[in-house]
């Protein structure tokens, strides 16, 4: 499928910033079922950009902007051609053995309630089938919170509130899968989901099954990603794969608006 | 030198100078209050608040106006950013951040000044207030001496720069407020004034003796104004502070090899001040002159921050 992505992030600072450093993880990389045809990052200021790579192997762009700065808009646009793989990831050079992805983080900390539930849902002998059940059950149990975006709640909090953003539900999946002893990780990227006309920023999960490899799970669609997901970055949790990690040097509050319009 | 270090040294100089100034002001006010009949005594405290531009802050505290309350507010009130204790606290925390750059003597003077206020309740009477402000002035003198005995390098110069900028501001404020308090609008300059009030001004800038040396024709407002504005012999005069600012900036420029906005502003100001005649200032409006001096000083402060990238 040919996916056209256009996504803008706008920061407005109540007080001018002397300077700004941002670390962007917004650039997808090729794999067997994902070919990046064109990709660009545009900023409405004079900036210095450096292409890099983080420890996970994600493409990183460092953005250095001089102030004074009362706002900045970062626009990402591109074209990606995808194909259906049954959710199984092929053609990615992995930096770490799967066992690394059993590690807890603050956002995906061990939680007895989640572990108990995951154990009940996943009672089959087949790990892959268990994970699919977990994915579907999670999507059913946790409602999408229409009023929020991004990822703020840790897995345990999202579990209690039973309403969460897509990324938060993905973190819940990660925590649940790990509680079963299955390596799992967070994926950030874009998804063309529901009735949207263009791919939106999205978060889902991947879990590792011996003999198969890494498999994507999207609790929001209750399915594995097909050809409507563009995979950008992975990490132990959403913060590690965050599209924009920024540092403010001034005393101001950041106002973040994300606007993805149809291509 | 790191900008942060320079900035800490500069602020250390400003805050310690300010603490010293407030101590002098309070001391002079206490003396005046004791000397004057009651209503005039109260007025002395009002003017002390006005000089430090803290009258609004005092009103906001909601305390009833009383000489004891004003003295507490200006000296030991830890909640008031313009009190001596807070100024010394700020000086000390800046000194701590650059402690290894200071000599032990300089640090000790600041630290001892700070310790003066440890666990001290509000000064209850005039005697206690005088005790504390005298002790602060003692430590300030010790610090001044220590700074002069430090290596003649950037460390010393940034402290002195802060002191010079602060001193310019303080003297101008003192003169502006006292002059207007003492001179009702319909009065002619040199008319009937309260002699004690003028003495207060001289005491605040330690210029009682200097005045006697320099002027033989007794205490007149015009002479006091002349002394505080135009006599370079008096270290706290505007002209002397302006020249000190230029000199210290020149020393720094020689070391860093960079001349900038602050150098130009300071030099312009000092050149103008050197030509200023107090008689002309009085004739064309002392208040306007002092206000513009204070504003210019604030601009210079900003330029110094930019030039040395205090950030």
């Amino acid at each position: 499928m040919r996916l056209l992505i256009e996504h803008r992030t706008t920061f407005r600072f109540p007080e001018p910033q002397p300077r700004l450093i941002q670390m962007l993880r917004v650039t997808p990389q090729n794999n067997h079922d994902q070919t990046v045809v064109a990709w660009r990052i545009d900023v409405d200021r004079d900036v210095r950009m450096r292409e890099d790579c983080d420890g996970w192997g994600n493409a990183v762009t460092m953005l250095y902007v001089d102030g004074p700065l009362d706002g900045i808009e970062i626009a990402v646009s591109g074209e990606v051609v995808t194909s259906e793989s049954g959710g199984v990831l092929h053609g990615v050079r992995e930096r770490f053995p799967p066992t690394l992805f059993l590690r807890d983080t603050t956002a995906t900390a061990r939680d007895p309630a989640i572990a108990l539930w995951a154990g009940e849902v996943a009672r089959g002998a087949d790990r892959l089938a268990d994970l699919h059940r977990l994915n579907a059950a999670l999507g059913e149990r946790i409602a999408i919170d229409p009023h929020r975006a991004g990822v703020e709640l840790a897995a345990g909090e999202a579990w209690q509130q039973e309403r969460a953003t897509a990324g938060e539900i993905a973190q819940l999946f990660v925590a649940a899968a790990r509680s079963l002893g299955t390596p799992a990780r967070y994926v950030s990227g874009y998804g063309l989901i529901g009735g949207e006309r263009a791919p939106q920023p999205h978060g889902w999960a991947e879990a590792h099954v011996d003999g198969i490899g890494w498999i994507g799970f999207d609790p929001v669609t209750r399915l594995s990603p097909q050809d409507r997901h563009v995979r950008v970055a992975v990490a132990l949790d959403a913060a590690g794969a965050a599209p924009i990690a920024g540092s403010r040097l001034g005393p101001a509050v950041e106002v973040l608006t994300i606007d993805a319009s149809a291509a | 030198m790191l900008s942060r270090t320079a900035s800490s040294l500069y602020w250390l100089g400003r805050y310690f100078e300010r603490a010293d100034f407030i101590a002098r002001l309070v001391e002079a006010t206490v003396r005046l209050d004791v000397l004057s009949p009651r209503p005039a005594g109260e007025a002395a405290w009002t003017s002390a608040l006005t000089v430090t531009e803290t009258d609004a802050a005092f009103a906001a505290e909601g305390t009833k106006f009383h000489r004891r309350e004003v003295a507490r507010f200006l000296t030991v009130d830890a909640g008031h950013p313009g009190s001596i204790v807070r100024c010394i606290g700020m000086a000390r925390s800046n000194a701590r951040a650059v402690r290894t750059a200071l000599t032990r003597e300089a640090w000790t003077a600041i630290n001892r000044a700070w310790l003066l206020f440890e666990g001290r309740p509000a000064a209850s009477d005039a005697g206690a207030v005088l005790g504390i402000v005298e002790a602060v002035q003692n430590e300030a003198r010790g610090f001044e001496g220590a700074v002069h005995r430090m290596l003649r390098n950037q460390t010393t110069w940034f402290v002195r720069l802060g002191q010079a900028v602060e001193r310019s501001d303080n003297t101008a404020r003192l003169l502006d407020v006292k002059y207007h308090l003492l001179l009702p609008e319909h009065e002619r300059v040199g008319g009937v004034v309260d002699r004690d009030q003028w003495t207060t001004i001289l005491q605040t800038v330690s210029a009682v003796t200097a005045y006697r040396w320099l002027y033989s024709d007794g205490l007149t407002p015009a002479n006091v104004i002349d002394l505080l504005i135009a006599r370079s012999e008096l270290p706290r005069s505007l002209v002397a502070s302006a020249q000190e600012t230029v000199d210290v900036l020149a020393l720094l420029a020689r070391r860093t090899g960079q001349h900038g906005e602050a150098d130009r502003m300071a030099r312009n100001r000092a050149n103008r001040m050197a030509k200023t005649r107090s008689g002309e200032v009085i004739a064309s409006g002392l208040h306007e002159f002092l206000r513009s001096f204070i504003d210019e000083n604030a601009l210079l402060h900003g330029a110094i921050g930019r030039q040395f990238k205090f950030g």
Binding site: R19, I21, M23, R48, R50, D52, C53, D54, G55, W56, G57, V60, M62, Y64, R95, F96, P97, T99, L100, L102, R103, L236, A239, G240, A245, G246, S247, L249 | M1, L2, S3, R4, A6, R96, A97, R99, T100, R104, Q154, L252, T256, G257, Q258, Q307, F308, K309, G311
Partner: protein, 502 residues
């Protein structure tokens, strides 16, 4: 439980026994200098430390607790042969640590070959995937190591702990020596003691040697968390003695993947950073986002190869207590030979058998938190109360993977000034090992920590420990040289007398 008789490094095997023959000159000095005189000198040294502000803050004490670390006047002494063997072992160990870090953040051969369990590394919070694949300039990771050693007999040294992050204490090594030179000059006349005062020069040379490629006049800085940090004195002391800037995070900015320092004359490019802040706080974009101590973008500059960070980010995995127990295997894997410095026997409580053994022997073992430090989170079985032991038992059963256990060693003692005069007190030792482009070197000296309480084995300064100077002697027969000269003189005089007679 009664302790085994400890080996005294000066007085020999035991109470009343003869002093060690090699150190007879030193034991004579101890015996002939009046205790009051020693005490006077010790107080003079401590007064100097207080004036200099060589203080440390004690965590958990609110009353502005700035204390000096007690100093003891009797030095601890290493013979040249002992030191040579120790140095060899230290160099081998630190080389292995460097090779381990290089491997673990790169190819991970050691895991592939099954030398240590993969999950022990990959699942360890001290292993930082965020910086995997990044390589420090010249592939040197652990530039400054402090290896904690204990001794139980004349030739029995054990490594207790490796410190490969930001080991502190080197300022005490230098200040203690200063004090000894001033207060006990006679000792330096009698013994040839290797100098330690070259440490700042060696450290600076190490820093410069690991500057990024192509930088000929590297700008070096020391990055401190600030003057509220307990080791701030050491930070400023080292920066001053090396003649480099002592910077805080806010003094540095990263632009275009290059680190700059803000000075009054504008930005100055920084090439080498000796950081004394932990990984967690180094760069809020990569590690803890709430860190105000660090420098945003620092890791990007590091990844781009534009700055050297000492020690390299991610080093914590090498001195982790869980990894420690595998150090003999790690040393063998990278050096091809057996570790010259053995570990203390260690039970990893994550292993069921080890846990069972530990629970059965709590009253005789030392139990430590894998991620604890400074003597906190530690049980010393033989001196612990019943309640303390039971508390640890519960903690061990709840989270066995967080603990290791070791036998209670009969740590060596050195005569130390106590209330009643000199008495043996247990010591440990932290030598400092520098790794630069020109190899690994051990500074001849170190920090001897002494447990001032009688019988105590806890030497940490936060728990009432003190320090001593550590002499590394340059003669095999210390004090003999002078002895000999006296003999020659007597003979000559005698001969002259005889000659006159005849």
């Amino acid at each position: 439980m009664p302790m085994r008789q400890a080996f005294d490094e000066i007085m020999g095997a035991g109470e009343g026994g003869p002093p060690r023959a090699e150190l007879a000159a030193l034991s004579r000095w101890i015996e002939t200098t009046p205790a009051d005189e020693l005490r006077r000198r010790q107080q003079a040294a401590e007064a100097t430390f207080r004036q200099l502000g060589i203080t440390f803050a004690v965590y958990g004490e609110s009353d502005a607790a700035e204390r000096i670390i007690p100093f003891d006047i009797v030095p601890r002494v290493f013979l040249p042969g002992e030191w040579a063997r120790l140095s060899e072992g230290l160099v081998q160990r630190v080389e292995a640590i460097n090779a381990f870090l290089h491997d673990i953040y790169g190819e991970r051969r050691i895991l592939a070959e099954g030398v240590l369990p993969a999950d022990l590394v990959l699942g360890n919070p001290q292993f930082r995937p965020e910086i995997a694949g990044m390589r420090p300039p010249h592939d040197i990771w652990a530039h400054i190591c402090g290896i904690d050693l204990v001794r139980t007999g004349p030739d029995d040294f054990f490594v207790l702990e490796d410190n490969a992050r930001t080991p502190s204490g080197v300022s005490y090594m230098l200040e203690n020596r200063e004090a000894m030179l001033r207060l006990c000059p006679e000792l330096f006349r009698r013994f040839r003691v290797a100098a330690v005062d070259s440490y700042p020069d060696r450290l600076l040379e190490t820093m410069k040697s690991v500057a990024p490629h192509g930088v000929s006049q590297p700008v070096c800085v020391l990055l401190t968390p600030g003057h509220y940090n307990s080791a701030y004195y050491e930070h400023s002391f080292l920066a001053d003695s090396m003649g480099i800037e002592l910077v805080e995070g806010a003094d540095l900015v990263v632009d275009d993947d290059i680190v700059w320092m803000r000075t009054i004359a504008g930005r100055v490019k920084v090439d080498v950073i000796y950081r004394r802040i932990d990984d967690d706080f180094l760069d809020p974009l990569v590690f803890r986002p709430d860190s105000a101590l660090g420098v945003p973008g620092l890791i990007a500059a590091y990844a781009a190869g534009n700055v050297a960070i000492l020690n390299a980010p991610g080093n914590g995995i090498a001195d982790d207590k869980a990894i420690y127990s595998y150090m003999p295997e790690i040393v063998r894997f990278y050096s091809g030979g057996d570790a010259k410095l053995p570990n203390v026997e260690t039970w990893r409580c994550r292993e069921p058998q080890a846990l069972a053994y530990t629970l059965d022997h709590l009253d005789e073992l030392v139990v430590k938190l894998v991620d604890g430090s400074g003597g906190y989170g530690m049980l010393v079985g033989p001196t612990a109360s019943k309640a303390e032991i039971e508390a640890f038992r519960a903690a061990l059963i709840a989270e066995p993977h967080r603990y290791i256990a070791q036998p209670t060693l009969a740590l060596s003692t050195v005569p130390t000034m106590a209330d009643q005069g000199l008495a043996p007190r247990h010591v440990d030792f932290r030598p400092f090992v520098l790794s630069g482009r020109r190899g690994v070197q051990v500074v001849p000296g170190g920090l001897t920590r002494v447990a001032l309480k009688e019988g105590s084995l806890v030497v940490n300064s936060s728990q009432g420990g003190g320090t001593k100077d550590s002499f590394v002697l340059m003669d095999d027969q210390p004090g003999a040289a002078q002895q000999m000269r006296t003999d020659v003189m007597t003979q000559t005089l005698g001969a002259m007398t005889q000659e006159t007679r005849s």
